[in-house]
Symmetry: C2
Subunit: 229 residues, 2 copies
Amino acid sequence: MSENKTTLTDAVHDLLRKAIIEQALKPGMRLPEDTVGEQFGVSRTIVRHALVRLEHEGLVVTRRNRGAFVAEPSRDEAQHVFEVRRCLENDVIRLLCQRMPGSGYDRLEAHVRQEEAVRGKDGPVSIRLAGEFHVLLAELTGNPVLTRYVSEVVLRCSLIMSLYARSHSSDCAVDEHSQIIAAIRTGDAQRAIEIMEHHLGAVAGRAELAAQPDSIQSILSHYGKELAQ
Amino acid sequence: MSENKTTLTDAVHDLLRKAIIEQALKPGMRLPEDTVGEQFGVSRTIVRHALVRLEHEGLVVTRRNRGAFVAEPSRDEAQHVFEVRRCLENDVIRLLCQRMPGSGYDRLEAHVRQEEAVRGKDGPVSIRLAGEFHVLLAELTGNPVLTRYVSEVVLRCSLIMSLYARSHSSDCAVDEHSQIIAAIRTGDAQRAIEIMEHHLGAVAGRAELAAQPDSIQSILSHYGKELAQ
DNA sequence: CGCAAGTAAATTGTATCCAATTGACTGATG
DNA sequence: CATCAGTCAATTGGATACAATTTACTTGCG
């Protein structure tokens, strides 16, 4: 745990992830190993390892002998990610209604105050804080496995929003975060889940996931794959 | 998808994973990169990438400059994995009660018949089939993201069982699988979840997770970390 | 002018090589 | 005798070099 001095691979991994969710690296953009490598002053080996991890996290896709690209999730994939996120966050709420740790509400309210401090500004800070609220909820369950999965889907949702949403404006989100805290405090899991569903529904709704036509391959996939040999 | 000819890294990855969950590689066992490499006739580079992936899946842990080891989850970690598994499988049931695909019940029943065919034999085949039933349930939701997470926790549970359970005997398990199918068929999610909880509870119970004293570090962690510098 | 084949450049897949860190052994010292 | 410093073997962290594959461009032909 504490004996792990961060390694170069970790550093590159974190930087790339940050760059992706902050939209510095846009979906579909190529990530050639040596380009990234000389940018950070490390060799391809490091970049490769980082890319392998990012692929596992769903932020990057690699095509054999073609290289790595920032993930460009189709609307179908996006819906799958959102669905899993709803499931996981509801599970988090159920657990927290059973066992919220002592310092839990203090930490949550401190976080909401942070969010309120940057209300209105639509910068990367606001986006990051909005995501971290949900990760914090997961952390309070005391279950690192659950926390990791929630982190992953939250990050992927950030990427999805950057692809499909017209605006990241999270004005109402902060209020809803407060409402979720309040509902958990009363121990009413069902009500908390309803608010969470509404909250995530609003987020997903902004992504217009069902409105516009899907990607070419998703459409053509209904016409059979016989030609693919 | 279909254009991905399997790469060497994939092959080694699969082999190692299989070896781990079949207990050929026992928890705590060292996995030196060059030893594994010459065993499979590939270089360290390949093994390294495979180990990175396995670490992400929670089947191996790597200690900085010390190398990789087959994961040896503490009882605490084991409980976390089981908890996430319960959450995810309940989510799967909720989704399936809403939208079971047409061929779903046929595939499930075919699988149960396979399990019944090897009933009694406690070999690796029986263990594998028991796990695959749960992965099949997840697949039927049509959500690949959810399927991947379920697969991961199911595999980790296999590893945990190999560590803590006295016997892998899954005689009753097959019957419970049938009961779960029946409950989903009636659309009664609540009842299906109860059976699933009981089913997983029985599995976890066999692991005696709460009975015996925990690991040393888990105990000592309550005595402060000042000495860790 | 369009299409197919062939070739070259670019990029990944894999192997090998050097450096840095760790753990164990040895020996000295209070 | 226990403890600590110093050295050495073993193994990983990281970089470079080579091979294989893909893509894009060019060229030739109908």
